[in-house]
């Protein structure tokens, strides 16, 4: 059932792939605007680069997460799947994994933009990829749940960030810290504990949100 749900999500994402490009441009523009806020201070730009990267990714994620339920609500397609019957948990994990992949792709695409704008490169690319994977997992799991919750309300674009942002503060903080230590150097090996904290929050999010999804989408 999970395979079926994931296959459907990836097919839907592929059909609307042009939107991912638009979201990438939005994220890149956000990074550019942050650099304007700091001004031509190379050292400060480098120091804040990881925070800007994750804020850019966070703002972009609300667009992709919200969009991921557009197709489900258009003709009540989600209700149709539930009535087949489909397991709500499989539907949730299918969508959350697809959103995770999309956000990871977006995160990876924004890294070169960050390097160019903030001169914030690193040679530890695998570690950075691992942090992006864990960080975006922390965004997509609660993000998918809240996007489902807000999909049927009129002010969903406003409501989703209002609900989501406070919940993901711990994951966001751990992602920023771990990324920052990877870029700026980590002589005390502190990044490991931030990554472990991030992984722990991911575990909690992915377990709890999967259990709650059925209650959110079923009347």
């Amino acid at each position: 059932m999970l395979t079926a749900a994931l296959r459907k999500e990836l097919l839907l994402q592929w059909r609307t792939r042009s939107q991912l490009m638009a979201v990438f441009v939005f994220g890149a523009t956000t990074l550019l605007l942050f650099s304007f806020g700091i001004g031509p201070n190379a050292e400060m730009l480098r120091t804040f680069s990881s925070g800007f990267l994750w804020l850019g990714l966070l703002l972009s994620s609300t667009l992709t997460l919200s969009e991921s339920f557009h197709a489900e609500m258009e003709n009540r397609a989600l209700e149709g799947l539930l009535l087949l019957p489909s397991d709500p948990r499989a539907l949730y994990y299918g969508k959350a994994i697809a959103n995770w992949l999309q956000l990871t792709l977006l995160g990876c695409a924004l890294v070169p933009v960050m390097v160019v704008l903030y001169d914030a490169g690193t040679t530890e690319l695998l570690k950075l990829l691992a942090i992006i994977l864990l960080g975006t997992a922390g965004l997509s799991a609660p993000g998918t749940l809240y996007a489902a919750m807000t999909a049927q309300v009129r002010a969903k674009q406003t409501l989703l960030p209002l609900l989501l942002f406070p919940l993901i503060v711990p994951a966001l903080l751990a992602s920023v810290k771990a990324t920052s230590l990877t870029i700026l150097g980590d002589p005390m090996h502190q990044s490991r504990s931030w990554i472990a904290l991030l992984a722990a929050f991911d575990l909690i999010y992915w377990s709890l949100c999967g259990l709650l999804y059925g209650r959110v989408v079923e009347e």
Binding site: M1, T3, T16, N75, A77, E79, G80, L82, L83
Partner: protein, 226 residues
């Protein structure tokens, strides 16, 4: 032979302060076609949505094949297929892909999809995305989705809506085929005369309440009175 009956007892459902269904009771024996008639807003769609388990009743109870629509939702869903106003289709997927998605979720093989599309005369448009389809074509595809489920109970909400004359005949044929296989069918429609010819029983709703129920052949007399 099918042995799945539908029972409703004092079923009620409200939206805000307005009662969409009030004290609705009926029994549909197995392998029977029952027509649900009534004007716009009479509660036909709400009744079918409650029976399909899409929404919960606020009072009363209903069961399909002995399974309660609230307590045994999963079992009811395994027996039932619903043709809804909202066609449950993904706009950005093709006709074939929409059926394949449903087949995957049902754990069925994808082989039968082509045959179903041919059955609803959409085989020529199998690889076109649904967003390019007319309302009638969407309805046909929704029918194919219902048939894919091989249900023992079918709930049809306005099956004739948006269809052309050949589409009307297609719906009649599908209902006849399902009936011959012993499927229990509920048809909510404004096409009284057409549905009455295919139905065994009829139920007339008005403002959420049952105002008449009896043999389908007699429903036209009620319409004349109404």
């Amino acid at each position: 032979m099918n042995d799945v009956a539908i029972d409703a007892e004092r079923l009620a459902r409200r939206y805000g302060r307005r009662w969409a269904l009030r004290d609705v009771s009926f029994h549909v024996p197995p392998a029977t076609v029952m027509m649900v008639a009534g004007r716009n807003g009479a509660g036909k769609s709400t009744l079918l949505r409650v029976l399909s388990t899409a929404i919960r009743p606020d009072a009363g109870k209903a069961s399909i094949g002995g399974f309660d629509v609230v307590r045994d939702r999963e079992d009811v869903r395994k027996l039932t297929a619903m043709l809804s106003h909202q066609n449950y289709l993904y706009e950005s997927l093709t006709a074939k892909e929409n059926l394949q998605v449903a087949a995957d979720h049902l754990g069925k093989r994808r082989n039968g999809v082509g045959e179903l599309l041919a059955q609803v005369a959409l085989d020529g448009r199998a690889d076109d995305v649904v967003s390019t389809f007319s309302a009638g074509m969407r309805k046909r595809l929704s029918f194919a989705r219902v048939l894919l489920q091989e249900p023992r109970v079918v709930l049809l909400d306005e099956p004739y809506g948006a269809l052309d004359p050949p589409g009307f005949d297609l719906v009649d044929q599908v209902i006849r085929d399902l009936k011959s296989r012993g499927t229990t069918i509920l048809v909510a429609t404004h096409q009284w005369d057409r549905a009455a010819r295919l139905s065994d029983m009829a139920l007339v709703l008005e403002a959420g309440s049952v105002v008449w129920q009896g043999a389908a052949g007699e429903v036209m007399a009620h319409e004349v009175k109404a």
